[in-house]
């Protein structure tokens, strides 16, 4: 039986990549040291912050909320609150919301829940159905990702947040990295770092990923030890995403060659450096969406484009004509995509 590399007690976790083993106590110390090192290295937080933790109720985001809430007790200038986006996915989100409620109420954490139905007008289930009826080419994860990011930024700003922390772990990051390599989308890869930006827009709230260097296996152990993982729910749409296959592939690779995931993360960091030297990602100047006024990478934000394609958002001829040239063209293209087929 493996022994803790620090105290010699029975180990609960063996890092096959480093060969180090840890008992429960020293695993938690290792975990905390690793996350705090990432936070320092990438200057995620200043001495005075209102950190809005984006929580789904799943084990990773619950672990992040638990971690930052406890850490904030030792940092007088920090306030930690929680934000949950309820997409409206039947048979899934209602269970994770219960876990979320239990935790924030027991720990007296201020929180906000924002629903797709209230903010977008429809639940994700309804949106997916509408998209299929219109013959739009998108997977459910596209609608979910676009509207969730849009609402996350808007709601965090309305809560007075100075920074949004998300529970993305090393596994999530390297999966996204490979997905974007396959999609040949280098502009997205350059934005995959642990801290968003350098985006300057008065309405944009900085996003950070404190678990950037933590394996998903490690966040899972952290969640189990702290009683944050008491049921497994699976998004019914997840198997439709290419991420599902990429994840399996990377996990099989890691099993054969321990350390492959860390190696992929280093590869991503090198790629970001090279891309920046070539000026990719430099033009990260943000627009203000000509329709909703939210910060956007385009003259019309992706959320408004999708709403137009779905027919959720309708604009009068006069309003379209009044838009600046680039924005008008984007609106017309989105309406055409929605009408096609």
């Amino acid at each position: 039986m493996a022994k803790c590399s620090i105290c010699g007690r029975p180990a609960i976790y063996v890092s096959r990549a480093s060969g180090l083993a840890f008992c429960e106590k020293h695993f938690l110390e290792y975990f905390s040291r690793k996350v705090r090192r990432t936070m320092r290295k990438y200057r995620m937080f200043g001495p005075r912050e209102h950190i809005v933790v984006a929580v789904s109720g799943g084990k990773d985001s619950m672990s992040l909320l638990h971690f930052l809430h406890n850490l904030s007790k030792r940092v007088p200038g920090w306030r930690v609150t929680a934000l949950l986006i309820d997409e409206g996915i039947k048979g899934y989100r209602e269970y994770t919301i219960k876990r979320f409620f239990r935790f924030v109420e027991e720990n007296n954490i201020d929180y906000k829940i924002v629903g797709f139905r209230e903010e977008i007008g429809y639940t994700l289930d309804e949106i997916v159905k509408m998209g299929r009826e219109r013959g739009l080419p998108y997977l459910p994860c596209t609608y979910c990702g676009v509207f969730r990011r849009y609402l996350l930024n808007k709601a965090a700003r309305e809560m007075g947040g100075t920074v949004v922390a998300t529970g993305h772990n090393l596994d999530d990051i390297v999966q996204t990295y490979l997905m974007n390599i396959i999609g040949n989308d280098w502009a997205k890869i350059v934005r995959l770092g642990p801290v968003s930006g350098p985006s300057h827009h008065p309405k944009f709230v900085r996003k950070v990923k404190p678990f950037y260097e933590v394996l998903e296996k490690e966040t899972t152990i952290y969640a189990i030890i702290h009683g944050l993982y008491d049921g497994f729910e699976e998004c019914p749409y997840a198997p439709l995403s290419i991420r599902w296959n990429i994840r399996k592939m990377i996990n099989q690779l890691e099993e054969r060659s321990p350390g492959a995931k860390y190696s992929l993360l280093r590869s991503l960091e090198t790629a970001i450096d090279i891309l920046r030297k070539h000026g990719i990602g430099e033009e990260e100047q943000l627009y203000t969406c000509a329709i909703c006024g939210e910060p956007s990478a385009h003259p019309i934000c992706r959320a408004c484009q999708l709403k137009l394609e779905l027919g959720i958002l309708r604009l009068s001829e006069e309003r379209i004509r009044s838009l600046p040239e680039k924005a008008r063209r984007m609106v017309e293209a989105a309406i055409r995509r929605g009408e096609k087929r």
Binding site: M1, P10, I12, Y13, A238
Partner: protein, 67 residues
């Protein structure tokens, strides 16, 4: 002579016990990857090389997130 295995979100299974069996052997018999599950015995997380005894009951927590 069996080890009972409950996989969260995926029901219960049994694996025939043999002398000197370890957690990793159970995972292999069920064709599961080590880095996709955390194994808990009697309420405590155990490492993959932990030796098992006949009649042990394990709970497997999926590492992959559900969304």
């Amino acid at each position: 002579m069996a080890v009972k295995v409950r996989i969260l979100g995926d029901g219960e299974k049994e694996v025939a016990y043999r002398e000197g069996m370890r957690v990793v052997d159970v995972l292999r018999e069920l064709s599961l990857l080590e880095n996709e599950y955390v194994v808990v015995r009697r309420g405590k997380v155990v490492a993959e090389d932990e030796e098992l005894v006949d009649g042990d009951e394990l709970v497997l927590y999926p590492v992959v997130s559900g969304g």
